[in-house]
Subunit: 451 residues, 2 copies
């Protein structure tokens, strides 16, 4: 009898783990069954806004692999299967599927349920025309709506998904407003000075951005949504998308007694073990170690889910791998403005009790005289005294955003700001000034930190 | 009486050093005189091919700063002044200028003469229509030629400048051939497998590339060049540019007894001191420490010249700075193909006696389904056993090239390949797959190195 691995959740973390474990252990040694409640496994949530906006035309592109493909490699991936309970004492789960309920035993369990969109306490959520974006079905529904005559859209929420959706609606010609209760957009990843560059750009594109507006009510008319806000200040809309972030799906884990961490997500060690023998967790539902703050965090990023899933898979496959942690590096774009960040913002550094200094510099993506050169602003945050890099943010034209990876690599290696300032980065006029904007920001942050 | 700093050579290293020293010491403490033989100080040699090709329209853009601007900040920058001798015993130089010869004493001397284009032993170099590209005057001359009816151009040399010039000529509509005696283009920075991607792309653009062709003779007709090669195999041309690299200008130093290193360039320590009290050197004429090979190298790169110049300037200014060395990171483009490299090639690693493994992967610049996604190939080279990164090469579409900086930063920090494979790099479909191509190449190189 082979050992049996049951995976709850068939998206990035779950399927990556399953594939990795399968590569390391044959089917007669390890049976792998994945239960996925939706109709899809292994899909690209990050690609959804781009499908809604029409840049990605083929819905199938959002599916990295199909259940049949997994089947062919010896992974029993079952869609429309919703796990409803975990019995740790009996080492078995209960799963609900179109044919009824079933109990399935396991030797190893990977809890990879992911996250679910936050449904805020707003009046009018059930009106027609009010949507969220999390699943592929959500994406398909939104795509079909925006191509059939939406007049005005409001996106509630100024995070990555909110901004990407706003760009998508704008791209298909729908007058679009973003409203957020926060004082700025992207407030979890950008300090206000950098976030303002993003709002300004969105406004220059013709996207309305309203900050500091808390939505408590959606106005309706004949059962359909008519606007966001029911008082004096309101924004008319026949399409409203709530993009208020996501929370880890931990109900099953909690009910079963799998310990949660301080963030409310499943607590795991660096091997993705939950502390309960034979029970693992990875992805949006699990915590990860933040290399800068040293604290557990719960980030809902495809990069983290894939890496944590691979770690779990290596360990389930008989290897021994440790997840080295995260920096929270992320990137997006609105129009031709690229936006990226890594580590802590200045505000988060202060909240974490770190004494931080920040340097913000204005430079260009290429030599100033290069015809395609465009402005880019770089903010580098360093610890006072040591000049340890705590975070960085970049907002700028094409070519700006991916430079965040240089900061991320430096931070990963504990390279202090004043040393990053001397690194041998590439230069040619179509790509950079002779001192890359990363150098300049790092140098200034280093000077501030050590002066 | 202030101390007097004499700088020989008014380009990147010299002027950066002068500016840095001036920021740190007032004119009544340090007098700074720069002697520059040409008509320009502080110009962008790297921008020249783009001026020749017409992307950069304003000649003035290639001059970072004018002598007058330096004068205004208290630096006596004298153009058309050619230093002809250095007398170390008497601490003075002889300088030739339009008004005659002059002797000038110094307390500190910075030798920053740069490099000069290699003039190969080829018959017919004096024919009309045969050019080189090094100075701004060269660039102006070439620009004027290509806009006045060149029929066919041949670039001799397949290095960075050669390829950039070929793209420039092609861009203005001139049928262009690159010939190189080497088996591939860019042989100093790319291994043959990667270089072939570049030649293939150039050919697909309509630029002819002929490798393994040693030019021994230029054919002439009526005093003008008619072709490259005088035998059976030859390439007709009415414009021939020799781009065979450059050599450090060390004659003055050698005559004066300033020690040269094993590369033939001026030997310096990490403070840019030559070993002779009060005599410093920086830029293309000086050596630098290569962080991977551990050997002195003589690279002619604007990045190195600027950094070394700044180090010299800080030390001349009363500070204490060490140049941390180089990796030889470089980038260029031909059409929309980006080409970059850092560290050692596989061939150079072998030559240096290092046991190296290499992994080459084919990926895309963005998610495979993103409409602007294009192929990119990444080669990562690691030391067998330790998985220490020795070098990396990237060839690919827009967004590919600058990723070399992630390798450079990892190599700078001694982050081994298998650890780079887990770093938290940014991802969104318009920018990357969920595993960046850098990750994938690093992982494969790490696996090869440690298996």
């Amino acid at each position: 009898m082979p050992e049996r691995l049951v995976v709850i959740g068939g998206d990035a973390a779950g399927m990556t783990a399953a594939s990795q474990a399968r590569r390391m252990r044959r089917a007669d040694d390890l049976e792998i069954i994945v239960f996925e409640q939706s109709a899809y496994v292994s899909f690209s949530a990050c690609g959804e806004p781009y499908f809604v906006g029409g840049w990605v035309e083929d819905f199938a592109d959002l599916q990295v692999r199909t259940p049949e493909q997994f089947q062919a490699q010896g992974i029993d991936a079952r869609i429309h299967h919703r796990v409803t309970a975990i019995d740790l004492d009996a080492s078995r789960i209960t799963v609900h599927h179109p044919g009824g309920d079933e109990q399935v035993g396991f030797d190893q369990l990977l809890y990879a349920t992911g996250a679910t969109a936050i449904r805020p306490p707003i009046e009018g959520l059930d009106l027609e025309g009010v949507h969220m974006l999390r699943t592929l079905d959500d994406a398909a529904r939104l795509r079909s709506l925006v191509t059939s005559g939406v007049e005005r859209a409001v996106v509630v929420g100024g995070g990555y998904i909110g901004l990407e959706l706003a760009e998508a609606f704008h791209h298909v010609g729908i007058p679009t407003t973003v409203v957020t209760m926060m004082p700025t957009v992207l407030e979890r990843t950008l300090d206000p000075d950098m976030a303002d560059l993003v709002s300004d750009h969105m406004r220059s594109m013709g996207i309305r951005v309203e900050t500091g507006f808390k939505v408590e009510c959606l106005a309706g008319s004949g059962g359909s949504v008519a606007g966001v806000g029911c008082d004096d200040r309101s924004f008319p809309a026949d399409l409203v998308v709530l993009a208020l972030g996501s929370r880890p799906q931990v109900e099953l884990a909690k009910d079963a007694g799998i310990p949660l961490g301080p963030t409310g997500a499943v607590a795991v060690d660096d091997h993705q073990r939950t502390g309960i023998d034979g029970v693992w967790s990875a992805g949006d539902c699990a915590e990860a170690h933040h290399r800068i703050s040293g604290q557990p965090v719960n980030l809902h990023l495809g990069t983290v889910a894939n890496k944590a899933g691979r770690i779990a898979g290596i360990n389930l496959g008989g290897g021994d791998a440790s997840f080295p942690g995260v920096l929270g590096t992320a990137i997006t774009k609105v129009g031709d403005l690229e936006i990226s960040s890594t580590g802590l913002t200045e505000g988060q550094a202060a909240d974490a009790g770190l004494k931080a200094v920040a340097a913000t510099i204005n430079s260009t993506t290429a030599a100033h005289y290069w015809p395609g050169s465009s402005p880019m602003t770089v903010k580098a945050i360093a610890e006072k005294g040591s000049a340890r890099l705590l975070g960085a943010q970049i907002v700028g034209g094409p070519g700006a955003g991916k430079r965040i990876d240089v900061f991320a690599t430096a931070m990963w290696s504990d390279l202090p700001a004043h040393e990053l300032a001397w690194t041998d980065l590439s230069y040619a006029p179509p790509f950079s000034g002779v001192w890359d904007p990363v150098h300049i920001a790092a140098r200034k942050a280093g000077e501030k930190a050590t002066s």
